[in-house]
């Protein structure tokens, strides 16, 4: 009890300094949580685009980005005919800009694609998709920012298209995208006869290994990966994840330095008090324990405040119309645990030097010091 009281007393004595340290950790945790959650959400959305009613993705081997992948169109037809395949849909990804909108994601899809068949159509009829080459369907957010509706014509890149429908999906990328018939997209992006990927659903999930072997044998320039496998190994995702953790880590490091600074000041200003504890029988470990305890309390409190702050910030971002659908506010429990553990570790690491310093205080010298 006295042990805890000593910890609380020291934190309360310099409460402004303690609060600044708590704020440092809290902001670091909030930053890490926000950055990682947003990026993981973005990666998740992109993964869901690929895995829409499918479990395997086929794309060009050794490409750095799926936008550069070229899969022969006839491959989709061939793969569809394999007995182990339920369906195979070619998808062409493209990015164009139009006035006031630097990035518009385009999806070249076939009428049987799950995006067309399973999305909620707010306007138009899904049966009418791909009847005309200049027909497009807009995601609801794309319709909003392009100020387009059913029947209107929209300028996308260098061409004008006829809007034959508006659909709503939960995926921010798709909801802000433009869906055009595959052939139109191939022509528009000068990728005749190719798609970016083929999304494949198998009749039996256990046949994935067989399917991969068949792809390797029949199409040596292509590779087939399970959705999860793709998300894990895709270099762009890995770079994004590494960046997110690095940015968050830097934030946390700064928070840790704040704790270190506070703890150093805290130890330096109560050398005499530490000596008193020593004279009264406190061991080096017990004195170190008081310092570690203070740091742990600051870090834990900062982590909890940061968690709350980060969550609120994510929800606030979600309320911004421009980000609607792009921000995933689902905090993964493992992420929360990792961030909390990192915050605690950072705080504890930050007090290593002050704790060692306190443990080495020589009572006889400290008591002479006024």
């Amino acid at each position: 009890m006295i042990f805890l009281k000593l910890i609380a007393t020291n934190l309360r004595r310099h409460h402004i300094r303690s609060l600044i340290s708590v704020a440092g950790i809290a902001f670091s945790v909030a930053a890490m949580l926000t950055v990682v959650t947003i990026l993981q959400g973005a990666i998740g959305m992109f993964s869901r685009i690929l895995s829409n009613d499918s479990e395997v993705i086929v794309f060009e081997r050794d490409v750095s980005d799926l936008f550069f992948s070229n899969v022969p169109a006839d491959a989709a037809a061939q793969i569809s005919s394999w007995s182990i395949v339920a369906h195979a849909n070619p998808v062409l990804f493209g990015i164009v800009s139009s006035e006031g909108h630097p990035i518009i994601t385009c999806f070249g899809v076939t009428p049987t694609d799950a995006r067309i068949q399973k999305a909620e159509w707010l306007l138009g009829d899904r049966g009418s998709f791909a009847r005309q080459t200049d027909d497009v369907v807009l995601g609801s957010r794309a319709a909003r920012f392009l100020s387009a509706t059913f029947g209107s014509r929209v300028q996308i890149g260098h061409a004008t298209f006829h809007v034959i429908g508006v659909l709503k999906t939960a995926n921010g990328f798709e909801d802000g995208g433009v869906f055009m018939p595959l052939a139109s997209a191939q022509s528009f992006f000068h990728k005749e006869g190719t798609s970016s990927v083929i999304t494949v659903k198998l009749r039996n999930k256990d046949a994935i290994a067989t399917f991969k072997n068949m792809i390797a044998a029949k199409y040596p320039d292509l590779t087939a990966l399970e959705d999860v496998e793709f998300t894990r190994s895709y270099s762009q995702f890995r770079i994004l994840k590494a960046t997110a953790w690095a940015v968050g880590g830097c934030g946390l490091l700064l928070g840790g330095l704040g704790v270190a600074n506070t703890m150093i000041m805290s130890v330096f200003t109560r050398i005499r008090e530490i000596a008193i504890l020593r004279v009264n029988g406190f061991s080096h470990m017990q004195i170190g324990g008081v310092i570690f305890g203070e740091s742990a309390v600051v870090s834990a409190f900062g982590a909890v405040v940061g968690l709350l702050f980060g969550t609120c910030f994510l929800y606030a971002l979600k309320l911004i119309p421009a980000l609607d659908g792009y921000v995933d506010t689902n905090l993964h429990p493992l992420l929360v645990l990792i961030v909390l553990m990192l915050a605690l570790l950072t705080g504890v690491a930050g007090c290593l030097y002050p704790a060692v310093y306190a443990m080495r205080v020589r009572a006889v010298e400290a008591l002479r010091f006024e």
Binding site: M1, I2, F3, K5, L6, T9, R12, R13, R272, E273, I276, L277, R278, V279, N280, G281, F282, S283, Q286, R362, A363, V364, L367
Partner: protein, 235 residues
């Protein structure tokens, strides 16, 4: 010079210093120059002498707070050195009272007194019982939950005495315990100190400038320039 043997050779030696040398600033400032001293169990001994003669240093060496450059120290018959169990010494064998009370200002009187029991891992009920006894004896029962800032100088020094005795040490090392108090309060605190050590059978080694207090101890040891010059016994 060996002093103290005349007190009562049948009693065990509580504190023994043999040819003790201590210097500071890399040997340039010699503080103790071959001190030999024995204090018997239950004896009250006053160390007198001018400032800087080595009284405090001798107390620190006996309490394991510092190390001699040369010589031997034994506490309750056990020689102590850098490899000794100093925590045991500080937690159970000796208690310290300093000129300044050295209490933690943000804690209450009771919390300050409980610090040694926390260090020694003594259970709370036992610690509270002991605190009750000492508070009663030192007249601080009504101040247990008061913060140190609210206490008078005398009360603070009595609190320091309580804290030093919490773990029932056999030896009390007091470094000018009344040095920061006025004459009247000094007298009260010193009377209390003698009462308590007598009641608990504690060995007291006290550095003091106050001759009148020193003469009330069993023995007065005179120090000068790092050496023990003479000793006087109470009549």
């Amino acid at each position: 010079m060996r002093v103290g043997l005349e007190f009562d050779e049948t009693r065990p030696v509580a504190l023994r210093a043999t040819d003790l040398w201590k210097s500071y600033d890399e040997g340039t400032v010699a503080v103790l120059k071959g001190v030999d001293c024995e204090v018997f169990a239950g004896q009250t001994v006053a160390l007198c002498g001018p400032s800087g003669c080595g009284k405090s240093t001798l107390l620190h060496l006996f309490g394991g707070l510092d190390w001699p450059d040369r010589g031997l120290i034994a506490v309750n018959g056990v020689e102590i050195d850098r490899h000794s169990n100093l925590l045991r010494l500080l937690r159970h064998e000796v208690g310290f009272v300093f000129q300044l009370h050295n209490l933690i200002p943000d804690l209450t009187l009771a919390e300050n007194c409980l610090i040694p029991t926390v260090a020694a891992g003594i259970d709370r009920p036992t610690a509270m019982t002991r605190l009750g006894e000492l508070a009663e004896r030192t007249g601080l029962s009504h101040r247990l939950n008061h913060r140190i800032q609210k206490l008078s100088g005398g009360e603070r020094q009595r609190t320091a005495l309580c804290r030093a005795l919490m773990n029932r040490p056999k030896i009390l090392l007091a470094d000018e315990p009344t040095g920061s108090l006025d004459e009247k309060t000094s007298s009260i605190v010193f009377d209390l100190l003698l009462d308590v050590v007598a009641a608990e059978g504690i060995t007291l080694l006290m550095a003091t400038h106050d001759r009148s207090f020193a003469r009330r101890c069993d023995r007065l040891v005179e120090m000068h320039d790092g050496k023990i010059l003479e000793h006087t016994y109470a009549s």
